[in-house]
Amino acid sequence: MKIYIRSTGNISPQHSLDKTSFFLSRVKTTHNYFKSLEPDYDDFVDSKMIRRMSRVVKMGVAAAITCLRQAKMDCPGSILTATAYGCLEDSDAFLRKMIEFDEKMLSPTAFIQSTHNTVGAQIALLLKCHHYNNTIVHSSFSFENALTEASLLLKDSLGPVLVGAVDEITEDRHTILSRFGLYRKTAKNEGNIAGEGAAFFLLDNEPGDSPQAILRDVQTLHKPETPEAIQDAIREILQTNGLQIDQIDLVLTAHRNRKKLDEADDELLKTVFQNNHCYPYKSLCGDYPTATGFALWFAALLLKEQKPPQWMEGYRFPLKNILIHHHNGNDHHSFILISAC
């Protein structure tokens, strides 16, 4: 595939709405969660509408609007939203009230905003955009499957596709996932950090005025049986796109800073990626199923700017090709290949 990333919009734990700050400094956390740096939403949406929106909806809408403003686009040909958890804040709120009040005297507000398609719906509503609108909710494959769908929609010539990845940390989600032992106990421990964010992209067959990068391939691998199967998938992607492994200038890896969780990643560093420059993107956005949204934004930015942020030392520039790897406990592996224009 050869799809142009015309513009991007990203709300994340980093200064992703402000390029200058992002290149200057890297945000770190002492907690075991990494929350987004949220903008003043009045710059994006009418304040009356904001009050009714939950955090995940606000982040999604603001990221989408940032992306569309950059490309000067009012109403894209299609809108695709990827989210593993959907609107947790509202669904948990409704669930808690339902239990607390024994199914009596409930207000519909939280329920109305709890459906998984709320982010995509609110974007359409704000833009008054009647075009194709879909929401993909398949765990760590949500964003990858949305990109695949976007590539098919572009073949239908419906116009540019706005596609985004959105997930939020809520108190309940964090408490529950912590009980599974997913996150580090203290800042000193090695270990994983929960993350969140909203990253949107305008994809098109045409480059537009100032394209960011070119999306070349997206592949998913469902429950590979052996480490070799993962390596084979990487070799296949390279072969399909006529590339040698040494032509991948940077690999964004799914490392989560904990040996036990990083076995698959370390195996790849010892084998296929042994001579490649690698960077663990989850150290910037935390761990969540649709974190590849952040990784794709990061990759597109590096390819457009062709310089490293000040906090990223020892990397060779300029960059031509970046490969993003994602996995969720070895169940879902995915690969996104992106190149400079």
């Binding site: 959907g86 669930l95 998984h116 719906a121 879909n134 929401t135 993909i136 765990s139 239908d156 469902h222």
Partner: protein, 400 residues
């Protein structure tokens, strides 16, 4: 690359039957599945009728051999998905690329409710095993693993139009040559969460619903699952099976009017129907039957009817009916349940009656059929699914 997309197999479980055969029988006999709540535990038990599948989780689990501890939505999903594959004669040994694209709206919410009963009082309590299937995608994965489908697995969730969107995601992948087979559809079990949610919106009828009736008072919720095995031409050769029908048209549009209500003019519905006719390259007059979204709420039926009037004005109005008076509104499953009914209509030349319609809506020059019609020549069926968030989708099924 642009290939025709065929329907090679179907499977379904709803309140009117646990397979294709019994669903067809109930449709022909005009037998509704909506009645008193039996398995769902809710304080609204005596007040709100529902279209419940007439089996406990344990009994559902026995049909497939899946564990009774997984979400009810997954149990329903497994039964209907397996039937569709068997019906088509699909097996794992086929060399073709098979994908599974499934829809649901609340994943394993039934188990999460159980967990929150404890967790909401003490964050250290509640069995973690009850939340591992919370995500919509987790339900799909359970069944993908059960069926051993690995090539492409995805989940769609756009409220009440979810499974219509899953169906044409698969159809598009076959048309573009990315898959040879796509098992597509959706599943949703009744949960206290959705029942109470819809109840707060005050759109649930305390009696049996009457879609497209002047005196309609709201919808009844239902549960179920339905799947279609879509196939390319190459896939059909491998199955050695003649298809039931083709899926010839599809479109998705957004009403962009309100989070839950349809616009009075039915903009999204109109654009979806018109778009589906365009992709099928047929005229409104070519449609022989419309399976309406027809929920029975004031808002949906007036918006959908207005949009139909706009699309078909100047043509003869096709025969039409809502089958939600049989099954209730099965939410994320409804688009697939009604896709199966649309294909059955083509296959058997039958138009199913719109049950309980007494006084047609005064706004429209047309009204749904109230009698079963046999020996009909049905070439093209239009099936509508509209949901919260303005998500509107229409599908067109055509004789193969």
């Amino acid at each position: 690359m642009s290939q025709p997309v065929f329907i090679a197999g179907m499977g379904i479980i709803t309140s009117i039957g646990n397979n294709l055969q019994t669903n067809l029988q109930s449709l022909e006999m005009g037998q509704t599945g909506i009645g008193k709540m039996n398995w769902l535990s809710s304080i609204h038990r005596d007040e709100l009728p529902v279209g419940e599948v007439k089996y406990s989780n344990e009994a559902l689990a026995l049909i497939t051999g899946l564990s009774p501890k997984i979400p009810r939505t997954a149990l329903l999903c497994g039964i209907a998905a397996q039937e569709a594959l068997k019906d088509a004669g699909w097996n794992e040994r086929l060399t073709a690329r098979t994908g599974f694209i499934s829809a649901n709206t609340v994943g394993g919410m039934d188990k999460t409710e159980k967990f929150f009963n404890f967790f909401s009082k003490d964050p250290a309590s509640g069995k973690l095993a009850d939340v591992v299937f919370h995500e919509c995608g987790a339900v799909t994965e359970l069944i993908a693993d059960y069926l051993n489908i690995r090539h492409f697995v995805s989940t769609v969730s756009t409220a009440c139009s979810s499974s219509a969107n899953a169906i044409f995601t698969g159809a598009r992948m076959i048309r573009e040559g990315l898959l040879d087979f796509a098992l597509v559809g959706g599943a949703d079990a009744l949960t206290r969460f959705t029942l109470n949610g819809f109840n707060t919106l005050m759109i649930l009828d305390k009696d049996l619903c009457k879609p497209f009736d002047e005196n309609r008072r709201g919808l009844n919720l239902g549960e179920g699952a339905a799947y279609l095995l879509l196939s390319s031409e190459n896939g059909l050769q491998q199955l050695q099976k003649s298809p039931y029908a083709r899926i010839s048209g599809w479109a998705n549009a957004n009403d962009a009017f309100h989070q839950t209500a349809s616009s009075p003019g039915g903009t999204g519905s109109y654009l979806a129907m018109k778009g589906a006719l365009e992709t099928a390259a047929i005229l409104p007059g070519d449609i022989d039957y419309i399976n309406l979204h027809g929920t029975g709420t004031q808002n949906n039926d007036i918006a959908e009817g207005t949009a139909i009037q706009k699309v078909f004005e100047g043509d003869t109005y096709p025969k039409m009916s809502s089958t939600k008076a049989y099954t209730g509104h099965t939410l994320g499953a409804s688009g697939a349940v009604e896709a199966v009914y649309s294909v059955l209509a083509i296959q058997h030349g039958i138009i199913f009656p719109n049950l309980r319609l007494q006084t047609p809506m005064k706004e429209f020059p047309f009204h749904p059929d109230t009698e079963l019609r046999r020996n009909q020549t049905i070439r093209h069926v239009l099936s509508n699914s509209f949901g919260f968030g303005g998500n509107c989708s229409s599908l067109i099924f055509s004789a193969a």
